[in-house]
Amino acid sequence: MTYFHLMALEQALYIASLIILGYFAALQVVLLILTLLSFLDMRRRLRQNYYTDFECLARSHFTMPVSVIIPAHNEAPVLVQCVNSVLSLDYPEFEVIVVNDGSTDDTLELLKGAFRLVERRVVYRTSIPTGETRAIYKSLTRPNLTVVDKAHTGKSDALNIGINLSRYHLFCSIDADSIFQSNALLRIVRPILEKPEEVVAVGGQVRVANGCVIEDGRVITPRIPRKLIAAFQVIEYLRAFVASRLGLSRVNNLLILSGVFALFKKDIVIEVGGYKPYTVTEDMELVVRLHRHLRRKREPYRVVFLPDPICWTEVPVSIGNLSRQRNRWHRGLIQCLTRNMGMLLNPRYGSVGMMGTPYYFLFEMLGPLVEFVGYLLIPLAYFLGILSVTYLITFLLLAVAAGTLLSTLAVLLEEASFGLYRDWGDFARLMSLAMFENFGYRQLTLLFRVKATLDFLLRKKDWGKTRRENAEYVPNH
């Protein structure tokens, strides 16, 4: 290699490092702004809740009824508990529709036994085209429970069947392995009751159930899980839900509502064609399509994230399951964004086109690649003899400090709002996790997302279902 080539390579490395630095600086600033917005919004929402008459809403004849849809594929160990938990929610009128998506375990048999199901003829409207149903069951003991049995055609199809069968104007999609607070439905419906013309979808907060003390399908004492992988996810979820999504929701640029717990207006979902099977994250894809559709129609609308309807979910505790889950999430994100590239920086889609989509594209989709390239440049620069160890250490320290700052701010926001983890030991763990996740865990999830990008490029179609693990629930005896 000639001196000229070396100079050119050094220059290229220098420019690349500057771009990466600029990128991370911009990312940190954007995340800090979102966190600040979340602080403001959280304060307003908690006060608003304090003065809301939930007791009246709970017994009012005028609280809009809701259809709760639970798609289930091989959920035998948890489904009966989940259905019982949902059926006992504090809400004036709602129905529960369980869609058994061709389970190969005894999911359906357990449901039949627990709720005395009998097969019924039911005429329903195929507003959204779906696969065939095998049978529809009604419960003899719970008049508001319907169970649909169908061949395994995927979660999107199961949800669409639930929508077709639902009686009410609002539907709430939930995951079978989730646990709800008794008032979760009342709280999630509030924005629609306030602004029925405007709000089209509402998402609730998802928290980590592993390690919590659970009794009768309710979380009694929230705790930080003992297993490190699950514990790191507590911090991740706090950052994602409490800090980031609340901020994005405030500026109506939220493109993701977790399918674990989200409420939609049925007519608008039918208008956009329901859930689509071509993506592995049907929840995000639906929300992006709603934005796209309503912006095109130039109708005022809002997609809202609320921090107070809390739902608890089991998170992966093994590296394999975590890898599959993150791979699916990131592939789904790329699928949604690449399918909707027309929205990117398109003024026709207003702030979603000019702010929301670029944010997800630049920071959520490309972020892992930029970070990965950053890590690759280190050995390259070392071999070329142009690596300054002092600079390297300084940048690494800066990255750790910035990451820790965002996490501690998320913990602060949680403390100032809900303060669910009452134990001081849990608080100390949260704080230490906020720092230590930067050493190993962050890099691990980065690898999962980089692999997801490769899988997307290689057109991998696998849904990436995580295998059920023994939940780290603590029975309250």
Binding site: Y14, S17, L18, L21, R47, Q48, Y51, T52, D53, C56, R59, S60, H61, F62, T63, R120, R121, V122, V123, Y124, R125, T126, E132, T133, I136, L193, E194, K195, P196, S388, T390, Y391, T394, F395, L397, L398, A401, A402, T404, L405, T408, L409, V411, L412, E415, A416, G419, W424, F427, M431, M435
Partner: protein
């Protein structure tokens, strides 16, 4: 590298400083919130004890309790004591309301209701809503016009607790004027009041605002008082389709056959939701006279009308069986399958309608 190292060091130090600051803030918040919660809990417990003693002790002891409550009562404790008032007997409530006035708290909260700060106004509206006092009610009437919907909502809730004829008159005036949430709160109050509110509601069915008439019809349906039948039957011809639908639904809850006969023509209304509500009502009233029209509605172009007619026919019972059996031979697949579903619900064995029998 062009970025001077000392700048990077300062950025790092700044970030570390912010990390420490936010961690400290979280810790301090936890410590102070914990102790504040304990203080508040202790204060509430003491207030609760005093309020219990007020109901049980002798006259002399009650005097002492009242003195202690007077000492405790301030802007901070007012909210809890005010919220507890509704659980007390009339005399004790009057004594405590008197205490609020003597300590100047009523004036204080009326002033707060004009504060620039939203949540102060909300708190004031909440406290005043618990005190059944003319001056508090007057302030709450004004708060119904507050620019902020949250305050209007708290004020409406406060007024709805008063159960006072004047408060009811004020609330019925704003029915349908503001957000749905406020109207539904007011509606819940009238439903709780029940039959006593019927004359006022009947009068309000002449309101020029269709939203007010709609909400009134909804309330009348829940109150289900026969005195409302006449005005609801008249509302079946209302110019607003929403009112017609609400009136039809309300008549289904009041439940007289004579009213049901008036509902049958609504199965041919121009709006699908009116037809759907009419079908529902006819099912609720088990109107045998409507079976023919309901079977015809199984072929309606609107899906919800067809579904409501199916439900209605199943509700009508045995009298609908011949018409349903005849519909099993219909060419329209939905009508055929609906008839099969309704017959199955009525306990009549029906042969399978084919491999896709559940489709509409």
């Amino acid at each position: 590298m062009a970025i001077p190292l000392n700048i990077l060091y300062w950025v790092f130090i700044g970030l570390v400083f912010l990390v420490i600051l936010s961690a400290l803030a979280a810790g301090l918040n936890r410590a102070f919130t914990g102790s504040r919660r304990k203080r508040e809990e202790a204060s509430k417990t003491r207030c609760r004890e005093l309020l219990i003693m007020l109901g049980r002790e002798s006259a002399e002891a009650r005097e002492r309790v009242l003195i202690e409550i007077e000492e405790t009562l301030g802007p901070a404790t007012a909210e809890y004591i005010a919220v507890s008032l509704s659980r007390l007997e009339v005399r004790q409530r009057a004594e405590l309301t008197g205490l609020f006035q003597r300590k100047g708290l009523v004036r204080y909260f009326v002033r707060q209701l004009k504060s620039q700060r939203k949540w102060r106004r909300a708190r004031a509206a909440k406290v005043l809503g618990e005190l059944n006092l003319p001056v508090a009610s007057a302030a709450l009437y004004r708060a119904l016009d507050d620019p902020d919907p949250d305050i209007r909502s708290v004020a409406a809730r406060g007024l709805s607790k008063l159960r006072h004829p004047r408060a009811q008159a004020a609330l019925i005036e704003i029915l349908g004027r503001h957000e749905e949430l406020i109207s539904s709160r007011i509606a819940a109050m009238f439903i709780d009041v029940g039959a006593a509110s019927v004359p006022l509601l009947v009068k309000n069915m002449r309101n020029t605002n269709w939203r007010a008439r709609f909400w009134t019809a909804e309330i009348l349906g829940q109150v289900a008082d026969r005195r409302a039948e006449g005005v609801l039957v008249s509302a079946l011809n209302d110019s607003s389709a929403d009112v017609r639908a609400a009136a039809a639904k309300a008549l289904g809850k009041i439940g007289t056959k004579s009213a049901g006969l008036q509902v049958i023509p609504l199965l041919r209304d121009t709006e699908w939701f009116v037809r759907s509500h009419a079908a529902w009502t006819l099912g609720q009233l088990k109107m045998v006279e409507a079976v023919g029209e309901l079977v015809r509605s199984l072929y309606d172009r609107a899906w919800w009308v067809r579904k409501s007619s199916l439900e209605a026919l199943a509700n009508v019972g045995d009298a609908a069986i011949p018409a349903l059996v005849a519909t099993l031979q219909a060419e329209d697949r939905f009508a055929r399958e609906s008839a099969a579903e309704a017959l199955q619900r009525l306990g009549v064995e029906v042969p399978s309608a084919g491999p896709e029998g559940s489709r509409g």
